[in-house]
Amino acid sequence: MSSGGRGSDGDRETESGGSGGSSDADRGRGGDWRNRGRQTLAWLVNASAVQRIAISLTALAFAVLVGGALVFASGFVASCRQPVIYIPLLGESCYNPVEVYWTMLEGSFGSLPNLARTLQETTLLLFTGLSVAVAFRAGLFNVGTQGQMVLGALATGLALVPLGSVLPDSVVGMLVAVPIGLVAGAVVGGFWGFIPGAMKSYADANEVITTIMLNFVATGIAFYLVSEHLGDPGTGSVQTVPVPSVARLPPTVDGSRFSVLALVGALLVAVGIFWLYDRTILGYELRTSGLQESAAEYSGVDAKRNVVTSMTLSGALGGIAGAIYVMMVHYRWQTGMPSLGFDGIAVSVLAGNNPIGVIPAALLFGGLKSGSFAVDFALGVPGELVVVLRGLIILFVAMPEFFRMIGTYYDFGDQPETAAADGGERQ
């Protein structure tokens, strides 16, 4: 089903996500990066729930398989006291992939402290995953959640410090401090999402490129500000003064840095976003504005403004992730923040960009990240394994044809990309 491109208006190329079967003459001239987002993962959004889950699980399984092969192979290079296996000609391998994944599972869910660490990661990943998903729902690929999170965290870290001397160190004080921290993170993160959104709408600048670049700018600006002007003068590291205890979310499990309050808040946000996008007119308009600008404009919607709104909302969620990181985990901004923003891409992609799907995806990814500590500690397998898995998951989910081949082979239902609904441009 490739109906050919819709007519182009002016110098703007309309979406043409199909394959070469469509008529080239119908395509707009002068394509540029800006239209990429519209077809990005559209096939996933349009797949049915069962297909989506099947796709995600298959992608995950393949990523785990490839990761296991990598671990096994690297075991031949690594040096250790007790090799687990000997293969003639190849030598001894230090790592047993099954043991590695089992340790990972135990290390993420096996005990209360481990579970707390997993849920701590999950909470943060819910926000970054939702940040990416919100943009994806509107056909925008926000690679900039990382930068939005870094600047949001810095804003929260700075805004909370003076509150220590003003607010009583009590629940009442916390009821004031935590919202201030969240708003500071959301506003600055939102602003950092607003920039690429406005540039996309009003200057035709592709958001993939601008958000990637703005990540580097955000890290640079934050580093500069803290190292030169706003840092903690008492230390040699590039970090801010710790936030007062009134602004720290109380740990739910002793010895951990996990607050169930934050997790509940994150879950409510996920449900709220699902409701906003699937049950309200505003959500419908936000989605169509990114996916089908001309159609949205035709029905009297300000599509450009809605694209800006989507990116701002996405950035605000990234900023809130940073705020929670400061208030729940690290109690200060420090350079070298974990790459939760990029993890958010994997979470969202794994969730089929569905806000409710983000919940299990974040839990799974939180488990992987948390379990990687145990794997590193107990078996000596570098925790960077999870970073590799993250990339592999994104890669596998991005291959529709791969799943169609698997789907045809096992005959589970329709091919995902035949379900295209965004103007029928998918083949």
Partner: protein
Amino acid sequence: MSDADTRSLPRIVRNHRNAFGLVLAILAALTIVVTVVPGGREVVADVSGVITASYLASAFRLAVPIAFAALGGIFSEKAGVINIGLEGLLIIGAFTAIVTLHFLPETTAIWVVWTAFGLAVLASAVVALLFAVVCIEFKADQVIAGLAVWLIALGFAPFASIIVWENVNSPSFVTFSSVSIPVLSELPSIGRLFVATPPVFMLVVAVPLSWYVLNRTTFGKWIEASGEDPKTLDTAGVSVRKVRYAGVVLSGVLCGIGGAGLALNVGQFVGSGETMVDGRGWIGLTAYLIGNYNPIGAFLASFLFAGLDALQIQLQQIAGYDVSSTLIGIIPYVAVVIVLAFVGRTRMPSEAGEHYESDE
């Protein structure tokens, strides 16, 4: 900016909108520094003081990974496959070069370094080939798959470093020594420019060669057609698939040279943070967007960014400036954002990012 708006501009400005915009932006920034920032005048005086032949030589050296990545991106995208995994390919190249040195006997024999160099190029080309398979056979979304290439490399290189060296950073190895071009390197004052490591000379050759291949050869015309009008290319009996494979693998080869050049110039692999590549692939991508897919323009943009980097290093050494280092580091990223937003759009190959299926 629509075509009508720019029609009044002189033709040379119109054709090189991005470059002119960049120059204007830099001039504006300079003006602000000189007039507004306290002590700005002294900074500019110091800056002009450090621009010497040895400064230019180090700018050339720093341009190697950026410019090779940019050239690679041009070949791939012109052929119709957007390759935003350039950063990942540089990381693969850099890591492979150093890990090869680790497993080879430690001698100063020249073959050791060249083997490392060759394997790095091979590794990067193989990863690019896999990326091509994913994009062409499995019809992956090119932007997401490219991002995945970067993220996988970003995880794999430190992972493997820890496996091999029990540290994300490698120890130092004996590496390329500088080569001097006879006679020219003897010249007063500019002689320093003709003493460099082999990757620098390769870059000097690769830039005009890429331009020539793209603009003056049949293969270049195929690449162009594969990205602009694959149907016609197909009708003419040339396999679009093969041309696209060639474009992507070529980008892997070029990134391999860039990554190996980067690591072998230092003699060490650094895997901490964003690895030693540290955004150079992304800067390469910005360079070819600013250079509007022209190898010469992409090189000039790369050289400009590398020059800024070199400037920052020199200023720290000579004048003791410290503040500027981070801010100078983000200039390329800010520059590309400004260029994309205010100056003009780059003219992307019209079918780049689209899958092509032959009708046979």
